[in-house]
């Protein structure tokens, strides 16, 4: 048996336990952003597509690698940007509370019905 594959399997198993542990206490309001954020993280397949493009030979392999890079870029860039947009909403929390105390009917930005 190849030693390399056992090492890789070891990493796999340990990473699986870390993955289960690290999100075990997420509150339900963060389910969607967490899903979206982990969606962006698996966009790291972009690194894999770079290696594939690096060792591709001939039209078929290069074409496949090209689309792989393209799709992976969509995943990683879109994933992080869309997650950031979702989480933007969470940042205004303290200032919102402050705004509420003295606001007659409108806060700083969001009041205008548009």
């Amino acid at each position: 048996m190849n030693v390399g594959i056992i090492e890789l399997l070891t990493i796999f198993v340990l990473a699986a336990f870390v993955g289960l542990e690290v999100v075990s206490k997420v509150p339900s309001i963060l389910h969607t952003p967490l899903m979206s954020g982990s969606n962006a993280i698996h966009g790291i397949i972009l690194v894999g597509t770079m290696y594939i493009m690096g060792s591709a030979h001939g039209g078929v392999q290069v074409t496949l690698a090209f689309f792989a890079v393209l799709l992976a870029t969509l995943n990683i860039v879109g994933g992080f940007v869309v997650t950031d947009r979702m989480l933007e909403m969470f940042k205004a929390k303290p200032s919102d509370r402050a705004a509420k105390a003295d606001r007659p009917s409108d806060g700083d930005t969001g009041g205008a019905p548009s």
Binding site: N2, L8, I11, F12, A15, V18, G19, L20, V22, V23, S28, I29, L30, H31, T32, P33, L34, M35, S36, G37, S38, N39, A40, I41, H42, I44, I45, V47, G48, T49, Y51, I52, G54, S55, A56, G58, L64, F67, A68, V69, L71, A72, L74, N75, F80, V81, V82, T83, R85, M89, F90, A92, D96, R97, K100, S105, D106, G107, G111, P113
Partner: protein
Amino acid sequence: MTLNTWVDLVYLLAAIGFILALKGLSSPKFARQGNILGAVAAAAAIAITFAVPSVRHAGSRLILMVVAMVIGAVIAVPAARKVKMTAMPQMVAIFNGVGGGAAALVSFTSFLILTSNDALVGKPAIYRIVEVILGVLIGCVSFSGSAIAFIKLQELITGRPITYPGQQVINAIVGLAIVGVGVATVLTASTPLLVVMLVLALVLGVIFVLPIGGADVPVLISLLNSFTGLAVAASGFALDNNLLIIAGTLVGASGILLTRMMSKAMGRSLANVLFSAFGSVVTATGGEAGADARPVKAGTPEDIGVLLAYARKVVIIPGYGLAVAQAQHTARELADLLMERGVEVFYAIHPVAGRMPGHMNVLLAEANVPYDELKEMDEANPEMPTADVALVVGANDTVNPAANDTPGSPIYGMPIIHADQAQNVVFLKRSMRPGFAGIDNELLFNPKTTLLFGDAKDTLTKLVAAVKSA
């Protein structure tokens, strides 16, 4: 240190970054920093990969690589920036699907590269072929499954579960064919067989998702997200790349757990979400028998405005209808107006209000509704009997008492907000159409219920005017 050591070191740091990113994303306080940390880690890993000799010396292929990245970024950034908050679930589905597709392509192409290598004597090792098959299989299921999920959420096809005669037989045939072709591919290392495998996996993704009802699609996306993670891990095995294995496995494992938590929030088991399409027949007939025949009480904005203005406690229960109408700002305006008059107002948020868990919190936060006016379902329900008015804005299934008292109903067992316990119930609804789950709501026919038909934003605007003049 050699270059390889540097590359591995940066990959290790990136892996730590991803772990901390997931940790951050699990807490409201650090969620945004977590996401940014993840992006920085990814950027570092990509940057160092450019220094790898096989990539650096790729010549024209290096240019093609950069071109593909630029095209991808030019498409992805505006798409992610401009997408409406309400269409977020579809967007996540697309980004997930393309990731799965990329992983499948990596595994597939790595196989082509491996078998076309002149230095290769005989067949590649069996574990190599297994790694490739798993990557292609899981990646393709995620790709085509996400595509169907997108089509369902975009309502290009019906959100109801799609069933057809012989479904079980077809599923069984595709399943067996995949196992058979998989074994044959391992034994022969044949590229044409791997192509057949790829096509079968795409078909599997489609037939797996079609029977899943629209209301359950978010849970499904979470599951497919986890699948893509596993496909990335499989690609990592095929490329002997630690970072891909760690990142993919993190997402795969956390995604499975997240999927289970989501289905739990809907009071269902994951198996029930995935395989319960059989119930859809009951749903359809139940819907036809119940609707239209019985009278409902429709009110005018003025009546309801008076009801609200002179209430002591009003609970706003927002649903997807509020989101599509972009009425979150108007809802806040109404709430503020009532609070000025001394009415106690809060929002009761069902865990799956909107289209995804947490979706409604995001939408209301966008409208600057303060957090302390939002109450989670468990916190809101004990207060419902003392509420004078439950104002249901574009929600339906999440207040459907059938979840408590109709064992045959597809949503039976789902926790709901007990709008039915309030003194009065007001529904702002576009029509008598049933909600996303496709089932009738008895509460609409309850004598204490008043309906106001129309787009949520229009009706809320009218209510604001009515409360002002009340």
